[in-house]
Symmetry: D3
């Protein structure tokens, strides 16, 4: 099994609902350093998992929909507690949708799976892994 990972980041504001979050129930924010991993069993004709240029643009675009925003006021996230875990899934699902729509190229339809990891600090990170 092969995989390719690219890294980018986004900076957002949000608050978390639930006593378990303590002071993080207040409006605060985070830099998420985002690693997107693409997996497939065999390489394409060019010898790659996915076109790294396209993948970088698509990840940039997905993060651009969330970054420099207060996620508490984003319609698409209404009803979502935007924890690091939940955001990893949002980003993975949006990348999967883009892959399905052909934005990663035709070869990307051979991708087997996807992992998105969000690093919220030097001591905590969360991932969501899904099939494609």
């Amino acid at each position: 099994m092969f995989s390719l990972t690219i890294r980018d980041h986004m900076m957002i504001a949000h608050s978390l609902r639930g006593e378990v979050f303590g002071p993080a129930q207040r409006l605060h924010g985070a830099t998420y350093v985002v690693d997107a991993t693409f997996r497939r069993a065999t390489l394409d004709a060019d010898g790659v998992v996915v076109d790294i240029g396209r993948a970088t643009e698509v990840l940039r675009s997905v993060l651009g929909e969330l970054g420099y925003r207060n996620l508490d006021e984003e319609e698409g996230l209404a009803g979502t507690n935007t924890t690091t875990e939940a955001l990893a899934r949002v980003i993975a699902d949006r990348l999967a949708e883009r892959a399905g729509a052909g934005e990663l190229g035709d070869g990307a339809r051979e991708l087997d799976g996807l992992v998105v990891t969000l690093h919220e600090s030097h001591v905590a990170w969360a991932s969501y892994e899904r099939a494609l």
Copy 2:
């Protein structure tokens, strides 16, 4: 599948038994930067894998039982060659025991698995992965 990882560290002295270890058969020591990864298929009602506050406290407590000690003289480790691999298992098993005892909260009973990684330097690390 979701995962959450938290990082902490411990500093210990020990010696390793076996010719394969060369100079590491002498009493020496290590800083282990410890990553504990918790896995589950779905998020809990708060939208998290596990309460990160409780997980941090429990990891701190487990590492506190080992840190700032000469592991050659720890009763609980008698007969164990305290290699990085073996210590990863000791820590994972102790975290699993704590999770089973409810120290990570009721929701943590839904956890599927656990990975513990010990970084012994910038060029070597070892992991132990187990189900919960």
Copy 3:
């Protein structure tokens, strides 16, 4: 010249004033991984630059005044554009004040200087350096 550095982090929301900031003029946030470096020409009687336990507590306390907050609404920062550079100075100045008040111990009065670095992502960080 000796130095000791400790690392911690804080997560804040804010917005930046000025066209140069583009989308960062919107309310968003950041994780700042914070490195505080203490400098002195000679070590104290214990052989250290500063008591690392006390320094860790003082840094934690200073970051606790800022973290999990919307800095746009903090009185102490009124009129400050809370750029990474400006926050590095705020933190350094507050650490210097604490050192002056004896919170780092008597020996810390021998400190020559202080550097505070705030990492806002994996590709950008800012520092402020001052004498003590």
Copy 4:
């Protein structure tokens, strides 16, 4: 499941064939920081996944066959587009061959699998995972 990872690096020149590579079709180069992960279900009699000393030497030797070279002119790679993904497989396969030949010691015949990750920059890396 246990794993042990060691890190080393190599510096090579090459060019990539295919329009998808844009400017990387020109002769250029890369530092690959290489992580080799060895996996097995149980530890050997010494309490390790593999003798880290031998593993380090074998990885060094495999990287020595590729490093400080122009891969476009290496016979063993004729017909291979030496992408990061493809090189991860070349290195994994060569490590597997060495393990099979006993260079990692007799105990290494118990290894279950191998992952090789090549970091080509701070924002991109690729892996190849295989059974042993």
Copy 5:
């Protein structure tokens, strides 16, 4: 004193002249992860050391002149042994020239100095520091 650092990278081929370089006398290559640090005593009216957007573009442009190339054949580097140290200076001098030409904005004329660090691997890096 304030500083702002941004990180980018470039991938090049080259060979080094001199017996001291051993196998690196052969044509090979490197990824250089490049940190550019801008220093000034006071912040500008926006509260920054330099417009990070402009600085990122200028660094990208300077690295674009070198990246994905065989430096042995670059006219601008004729007669230069393109060691990590020497390339750090080339990049710093080109950034200084751009700053002088106003590409970093008028405020950037207040910059006091510049440091460029090139990381050639996880175990070696070199810097060049100069006044502006």
Copy 6:
């Protein structure tokens, strides 16, 4: 001013004397990831700060005198509280002595200074800087 930094590591046991050290007064240990930085105003005839091959060997040799040992029992360190800060100086002074003895080559006599940084964990490190 140019600088070149190389990284290596050592693993030691020790105990620290003084109430300020709390549990670190017990016999424990540490991995120190060691960065040695060599500085000079101009490059040598080969275009480098120092022969990186020789510097790597000399650093390895200096660390070999300390590593895999219980520093409490080392004669050369009698009377030294082997804090991270103090060990940074020991290593810097030994590197300086080797440089003076010609082990880094004749050109190394042009070195202006030296910085040694010891990383004791992901959240703490100490440095000692001296002239040559």
